[in-house]
C-alpha cells in the first residue's frame, strides 16, 4: 500500500480498499477540514480529491514501470456543500500516456452517484 504524506495525515485521510487498483480515500469530518461552521472547507475537499487522483495514478503506474508524478493543473467543480459526515473520494485514470496522465476524481458523502465535488487533473509523469 502507498505511504501517505504528512498532508494526507493533516486531512485525516484513511485508505479504504478500492477496486481496479485505485483506493477510496476517506476523510472524517474534523475541525482541521472545517470551513464555515458546519461545512467542509472547499480547499480540503479539493485536497482530498487531489490525493485520490494521485493515489489512482500511482496505482496505475505500478503496473506500467513506475515514475514520478508532478501536478500540472486541477479544475474543481463544487456541487454541494460538504456536511458533518464522512467524505470519500476515488480517482479514475482516464488516460495514461508516456509523459502526461489525465485523472478525474469525485468526492461524495452518502451516495457516490451524488458527488459533492469533482476534479479534473493533468499530471506530468517522469518515467524512471
Amino acid at each position: 500500500m502507498i505511504r501517505m504524506p504528512p498532508y494526507a495525515e493533516l486531512l485525516g485521510l484513511i485508505v479504504e480498499t478500492g477496486h481496479n487498483g485505485a483506493p477510496v480515500l476517506m476523510m472524517p469530518f474534523a475541525t482541521e477540514v472545517l470551513g464555515r461552521p458546519g461545512f467542509l472547507h472547499g480547499g480540503a475537499i479539493g485536497g482530498l480529491m487531489e490525493m485520490a487522483a494521485i493515489a489512482a495514478l500511482h496505482a496505475a503506474l505500478q503496473g506500467d514501470g513506475g515514475g514520478e508524478i508532478k501536478p500540472i493543473n486541477v479544475t474543481v467543480d463544487f456541487m454541494r456543500g460538504g456536511r458533518d459526515k464522512e467524505t470519500r473520494s476515488r480517482g479514475v485514470v482516464t488516460r495514461l500516456g508516456t509523459r502526461v496522465a489525465n485523472v478525474e476524481a469525485t468526492a461524495w458523502q452518502d451516495d457516490p452517484a451524488k458527488p459533492i465535488a469533482a476534479a479534473r487533473t493533468n499530471y506530468l509523469i517522469v518515467r524512471s
Binding site: 498532508y7 493533516l10 475541525t31 482541521e32 477540514v33 472547499g42 480547499g43 485536497g47
Partner: protein
Amino acid sequence: MSGFTGFDPERFFRAGLGHGGALGIQYHAHGADWAELSLPYDEKLVGNLGTGVIASGPILSLMDMATSLGVWLRADAFVAHATLDLRVDYLRPATPGKTVVGRGECYRLTRSIAFVRGQAHDGDPNDPLAHVAGTFMAPEGYPR
C-alpha cells in the same frame, strides 16, 4: 485603508480556526478588490517526502480563501457564498522552507456570480508558482 469598509479581512483571519488555521494560513495584505494570504512552510504540509515540497492541496486552499476574500472586499460586505469552480495551474513546485504568498482578486462582480483570479509566489511575485481562475456564487446575491 481610509474611509468606510464593510469587511475587515484581517479581523476575519485572526481567529485561526478550521482548515485555514490547521494549514497555518495568515492574513498578509489587502486592497479594494484583492487580498493576500500567507502560508508559512511547515512539514505537516509536505506532499512529497523525498523532496520536502508541500502538497498542491494547501495551495488550492490558500487560493480559494484569498479569492473569496477578494470578493468580499470588492462587495464591501461579508456575503454568504460558495465556490462554484476553481482551476489551479501549478507553474512550478513551491520551494521547501519558503513562505507561499497567495493573492486573490475579484475582477468582476455580478448580481449572483463573482469572477476571480490570482497568483501565488514564494518570495518573488515575478516568479509565480501557481495561477488560478474561478467563480463564486451567492445564493442571496451580492450587493450592487
